[in-house]
Symmetry: C2
Subunit: 271 residues, 2 copies
Amino acid sequence: MPRIPVTDPSDPRLDDVRNLNASDNRPDLPGGKGLVIAEGPLVVSRLVESRFPLRCLVGFPAKLDSYDADHGLPDGVPIYEVSRETLAEVAGFDMHRGLLAVAGRAGEASISDILRTARTICVLEGVGDHENIGAIFRNAAGLGVDAVLFGAGCADPLYRRVVRVSMGHVLRTPYAHLEGTRTTWQRSLDQLREAGFRLVSMTPGGDTTLTEAMAGADKVAILMGGEGPGLTEHAMRATDVRAAIPMAPGTDSLNVATSAAVAFYERQRSL
Amino acid sequence: MPRIPVTDPSDPRLDDVRNLNASDNRPDLPGGKGLVIAEGPLVVSRLVESRFPLRCLVGFPAKLDSYDADHGLPDGVPIYEVSRETLAEVAGFDMHRGLLAVAGRAGEASISDILRTARTICVLEGVGDHENIGAIFRNAAGLGVDAVLFGAGCADPLYRRVVRVSMGHVLRTPYAHLEGTRTTWQRSLDQLREAGFRLVSMTPGGDTTLTEAMAGADKVAILMGGEGPGLTEHAMRATDVRAAIPMAPGTDSLNVATSAAVAFYERQRSL
């Protein structure tokens, strides 16, 4: 497929990457175009290989050359060649990485499929920070977590920043949203228990070590709450055990994605 | 001590917090004024209690009231009361936290003191990212690491962003720079071995599990390299063991501060 040079920043063929930082009309907002945007060769290659329907690639000529040499440019979608100045004007800031891929959204994984095949699941409640969601997906993929389930109050996992911070793993690791509101979603944890999962709440006030919490479990679901408030009491009451990472006196809890990595590590260690 | 209202953004009494984001003349550059800047009540309180010589506090009236109620305003230094608009013009951006403290630099800890008293040390090589340095100090403090030693190629630990991301722990946890250049600093690891430390390199190519690497050690030094290149072969050759966090197939290594947290956790677990 021939590359298509575009020099006019107002060209509508570049609308998929227009105003990437705008709070109201950015193309990755779920209520708007709801696109999925990958930046840089590694994450672009993961979007290209993913289940998300690819729409286009946009890049500087040299970045497209280099991607073509390493991965091969994908077939069947337009490849727009732009200058750094044109892309900066379209995106709204200087995109020095110079390579973007855009896809449409795809449906989530099926919860019953996840519960049938996964052995280690991460369940999030109230994690509203995109960077934390991205880091949790990166850590989950690296440390052998099979799927992520969202309770209430979590940020959109397909926001551009999540895709980037996750190193594209949010495009690969199955995830799904559990049903219910902030006060009712916890009931859906019953189906995890019925599927044989031990439910482990991660909380600084936990009375069990991580090692004890993971020991001897065939299937484990690790629950993490947002920075600050942590898990709701309602969620913790629906779990089997409350585990803490021992903290030195006079220190605060760890970042939520860091705590998650420690829990995922302990789970892998216990297998 | 009475608070001092300052309304003129050009007032030289505010020079300690002027142009906080400027790359050339920001006040926390070691080559320039070399100040230490804390933001927000928690980190400000940690700077006030630290060994760093306090110079002033700057804040919105309501933020100073609230800090005074929670911690008491410190004696012996000027407390400048400013409006949001004035501070934004002085600092160069909108500082919505509205509370800053400034101190001078203080000398580092003595390496011989560290080696005499510490049982767990983190040694960094080539960690050039301020956010990673800050996160490593936060994780070290939370997970019982006694001190941080810097090999060559690391970013300045007193940069404003490090202080913030570390939650102020860089002001509390002892640290020092080991002598030598990029190719010679590794020799100074001998003194750690002589002091009874087991030296553990963290590397994705390691042939030992973390659990094995930590087992039975009275004193441990955990070596971490920068994102991407990791530890130099020269540094790893000076250590006793090369440990890896087992990664799932097809995934990259974890972020350096996240890897450090997992290693620190395993060290605490093994004690």
